[in-house]
Amino acid sequence: MSKIMIVDDERHIVETLCLAFEKRGYQVVGVSDATLCVPLADREKPDVIILDVMMPGMDGYEVLNRLGEDDRVSRIPVIVLTAKPDEIYRRISEGIGAKLHLTKPFKPYAVVEQVERILDERKGVPTAQP
């Protein structure tokens, strides 16, 4: 079963997403301290990382950049999940390596479905065209 890492300083976001993924049978690692994301990703080897942007200590862009620069974790797809709704932030996320840019507020199972689509893509499963 695939493992999902959720990185957000807002505990209720982590808990909500953990619940949704666990109900679908996924293993979940919740992280509320952004500075721990890279070492934990290396240890846990998640299949997908869901990453908030605005976090104290280290912002999500910095985390995304560090993940991309570290050969041990650079192949893990990252979904940015942010309260910043504007198109410019999507360009920034994708420009520095995010697989997908999603915005808050969100429907937890819609996030699960996006993760499943990414996992299917990686397994070579054909996905429905929008």
Partner: protein, 127 residues
């Protein structure tokens, strides 16, 4: 002579850069409230805009995006100025098309020269 819009919520940055541009014969439009930038830029049509990255309420990247969405401003060179050091934000600025990425602390006259190059990139230098 060019008209340069300088936007930073830190007043001393606006003042320092304003003095440096004026010493080279340029006009400046100084703003410390990011909410007023779009309307001021549409009204004043500056030759270049310097935006602080981190400001309360709205960041420089969002402001850049809003400015570029205006047909009359979309070719105006924009510089981002930030206290973030390191290559990440320089990369982000490049990715989204910012003409010049500057970091604090800076040499004001160096900033002026780099903006002058942006405005008149051909041989001969300043406008």
């Amino acid at each position: 002579m060019a008209r340069i819009m300088i936007v930073d919520d830190e007043r001393h940055i606006v003042e320092t850069l304003g003095l440096a541009f004026k010493s080279r014969g340029h006009d400046t439009i100084s703003l410390s409230d990011p909410a007023t930038v779009l309307s001021a830029a549409m009204r004043e049509r500056p030759d270049a805009i310097i935006l602080d990255l981190l400001m309360p309420g709205i960041d420089g990247y969002k402001l850049y995006h809003d400015l570029m969405a205006d047909e009359l401003l979309s070719s105006t060179p924009v510089a981002i100025i930030t206290g973030h050091s390191g290559p990440l934000y320089e990369r982000i600025s490049r990715e989204i098309g910012i003409a010049l990425h500057l970091t604090k602390p800076f040499n004001p006259l160096d900033v002026v020269k780099r903006i002058e190059k942006l405005i008149a990139p051909g041989p001969g230098g300043t406008p």
